[in-house]
Amino acid sequence: MRFLLKRLSFYAVAFLVAATFNFMIPRLLPGNPADIMLANSGGMIAPEARDALMATFGFIDAPLHEQYFAYLGSIFTWDFGLSIKFYPMPVADVLTQALPWTLFLTGAALLIAFSTGTLLGILAAWRRGQLTDVIASPTALALQSVPAVVVALCGLYFLSVRNRVFPTSYAYDPKLDPAFSWEFAASVAYHGFLPVVTLSVVLVGGYLITMRNNMIGQLGEDYLAMAEAKGLSDARVRYAYAARNALLPSVTALALSFGALFGGSLITEVVFNYPGVGNLLYLGIVGRDFPLIQGQLLIMTLAMLLANLAVDLAYVFLDPRLKRA
C-alpha cells in the first residue's frame, strides 16, 4: 500500500510538471499561437477574434501566475476550448471520438508484441545457441532498430498498394455506420490489421531481447537446479520457475516502452490515416490548431501516467514482497 501511495504521489507531481511544461512551451517560444493562427488563416479569422483566441490559450490579460492557475483549472473541468480545425467542435469532443481507436490500436499491438516477444525470449534463452535463439535473437535485434515509419510505409506499399490485400486508410468502411454488428466488427478488424501488425513488429524486438537477457540471468540460479533435481517437468521449470522470476524486470521494461508505443502509434496512424489521437495531433500540428494540441498533450501525458500506474499494479501482483511492505 505504501508503495502504491508513493507511486501515486510521484505521478501527481509528474503530471504537474508535464502540465507546466505544456503551459510554458507556447509562452517561451517566439510569437504567440493566436498571431501565428491569424497569419495562417489568411483572413478566415477576423482580427476582432484575436482576444477571444488568446483567451482560449489562457493568454488572458492577467499576471503569469493567474494564467497558470486558470490553465491548471481547465484540466479538471476538461474544458480545452474549441478546436480550430474541427470548428466549432470542442476539443474534448474531438479527442473523445479519436481515443477509442488509439486504445484499440495500442492495446492490441501491446498484447500481441509483449506476449510473442516474451514467449520467444523465454525459448531463445532456454535453448541458447540453438535454432530458436539463432533465428529469433538477431531478427529481434534488427527489428529493434527499424523505425515505425519504415515498417508502416513498407506495409502500406506491399500489402495495400501493390497487392490490394488491405485498405490504405480509415478505421472502417466509411459506407458502414458504427454498430454492434458482425459486419462492422469485421470491417474494423480488416482495416485495423495492418496498423496493429506494424506496431507489433516495431515493439516485439525489444520485449524479446529484454526477456531473453533476464532469463539468461536466471539460468545459473540454484533454485532452478533444485527444481530440476526434484524431477519437475522441463516446461514447469521453464515457465513457473525461471520465467516467473525473469518477468519482473521485463515488466519494468514494459513501463519504459510506453513512450515507444505512443510514438509508434502516432506514426502508424498518420501513415494509415487511422482516426486515432496520434493522427489528430498530427492534423492539429499541421493545421496549427493550438487548443487541440494543448488538450492532446495533456491527454497523452495522462494516458502515459495511467499506463505506468497499471504496470506498478501488475508489479505488486507479481512481486509479493511489495505487498507485505
Binding site: R128, V161, G259, G263, L297
Partner: protein
C-alpha cells in the same frame, strides 16, 4: 585502448556492425566525390524507375535518388552523432553525480529523471518542433539531445551505484582521493561499456527520430536527409503512383545503419556481460570435451 579494440573486434557481431557503420562514415565523408549527380538539380524526367543512369531512379522533381541518399547519409550521421554526444554527456553526468553523491542530490536528480521518463516524448518533440517552425537538422539534433538523456541517466546511475560499493572505490575514498579524481579516474573508466552502450543507442534513436520528425513535415524541407526524402516522397504520393524506389531507398538506408549500430551495441553488451553470448564458443568447447571423453573411454576399453 588497442586491447579494448581487439576484444571488440574479436566479437563477430561487433565487427560486422562496425564494418557497416564505417562504410556509412566513409560515404558521408566523400559524399561530394561519389554522388553521381547534384542532389537538388533536375537531372532526369520525373519518377524515372531505376536504370543504369539513375541507379535508384528519380523523384517527382526529377532529382537523382541515389545522390540524395548519399548526401542524406552525411546529415543523418552528423545529427545522430551530435545528439548522441549530448545525450551521453548529460546522461553520464547526471547518472554518476546522483550515484556518487547520494542522499538529497540523488533524490532530486533521480526524481527529475523519472519524471522525464514518463512523459510522452515523441508528441512533445513534435509540438516543440512545430512551435519552433520548420527546423534545420542541427536544431533537431539539439532538441533530441536535450530531451532524450533520461534513459541513459537511469542506467548509468544504476551501474555507478553498484560500482560505488566495490572495495577499490571504497579504498580510494579512504585514502582521501579528491572528488574529481574519484569520478574521472576511478569510476568513469569502469563505466565505459554502459556509456558506449548509451551513446550507440542514442545515435540509433536520433537517426530514427530525425527521420520521423522530417517525414511528418516538421523539419526544414531544404535539408538533404533521409527523413526529408521520405517527406518529399509522401507529398508526391510516390507510394500511390508506384514510385517505390523513392520510398524504399531511404527506408533501406535507415534500417541498415540501425542494424549496424545495434550489432555494435550487442557486441558491447556481450563483452561487458559474457553470459549474454550466444554461446557458440561454449557449445563448441562442450562438443570437443565430449569427443575427448569418448576417445579416452575407447582407449581405456582397449
Amino acid at each position: 585502448m588497442p586491447d579494448l579494440l581487439r576484444t571488440f573486434l574479436r566479437n563477430r557481431k561487433a565487427a560486422i556492425g562496425l564494418a557497416i557503420v564505417l562504410a556509412y562514415v566513409v560515404v558521408a565523408l566523400v559524399a561530394p566525390l561519389i554522388a553521381p549527380f547534384d542532389p537538388i538539380a533536375r537531372v532526369g524526367r520525373p519518377h524515372q524507375a531505376p536504370s543504369a543512369e539513375h541507379w535508384l531512379g528519380t523523384t517527382r522533381m526529377g532529382r537523382d535518388v541515389f545522390s540524395q541518399l548519399i548526401w542524406g547519409t552525411r546529415t543523418s550521421l552528423m545529427v545522430g552523432i551530435v545528439a548522441g554526444l549530448i545525450v551521453t554527456a548529460i546522461g553520464t553526468a547526471i547518472g554518476i553525480t546522483a550515484a556518487y553523491f547520494g542522499g538529497l542530490v540523488d533524490n532530486v536528480l533521480n526524481f527529475f529523471t523519472n519524471v522525464v521518463l514518463v512523459l510522452p516524448q515523441l508528441p512533445l518533440l513534435l509540438v516543440l518542433a512545430a512551435f519552433l517552425g520548420q527546423v534545420g537538422p542541427w536544431a533537431i539534433a539539439l532538441i533530441i539531445g536535450l530531451t532524450s538523456w533520461a534513459w541513459g541517466a537511469r542506467v548509468t546511475r544504476a551501474q555507478a551505484m553498484s560500482l560505488k560499493t566495490r572495495d577499490f572505490i571504497q579504498a580510494s575514498a579512504m585514502i582521501g582521493e579528491p572528488t574529481w579524481r574519484m569520478i574521472l579516474v576511478e569510476m568513469l573508466p569502469n563505466l565505459l561499456s554502459i556509456i558506449g552502450f548509451n551513446f550507440i543507442g542514442s545515435v540509433i534513436f536520433t537517426i530514427i527520430t530525425e527521420a520521423t520528425l522530417e517525414f511528418l513535415g516538421l523539419g526544414s524541407p531544404l535539408a538533404l536527409s533521409w527523413g526529408t526524402m521520405l517527406y518529399n516522397a509522401q507529398t508526391a504520393s510516390a507510394i500511390m503512383v508506384g514510385a517505390w524506389w523513392e520510398v524504399l531507398a531511404p527506408c533501406a538506408a535507415i534500417v541498415l545503419i540501425g542494424v549496424g549500430l545495434s550489432l555494435m551495441n550487442f557486441g558491447v553488451d556481450e563483452i561487458a556481460n559474457p553470459r549474454m553470448r550466444t554461446l557458440g564458443n561454449v557449445a563448441k568447447a562442450l562438443r570437443i570435451e565430449k569427443r575427448l571423453l569418448r576417445q579416452r573411454m575407447q582407449e581405456a576399453n582397449q
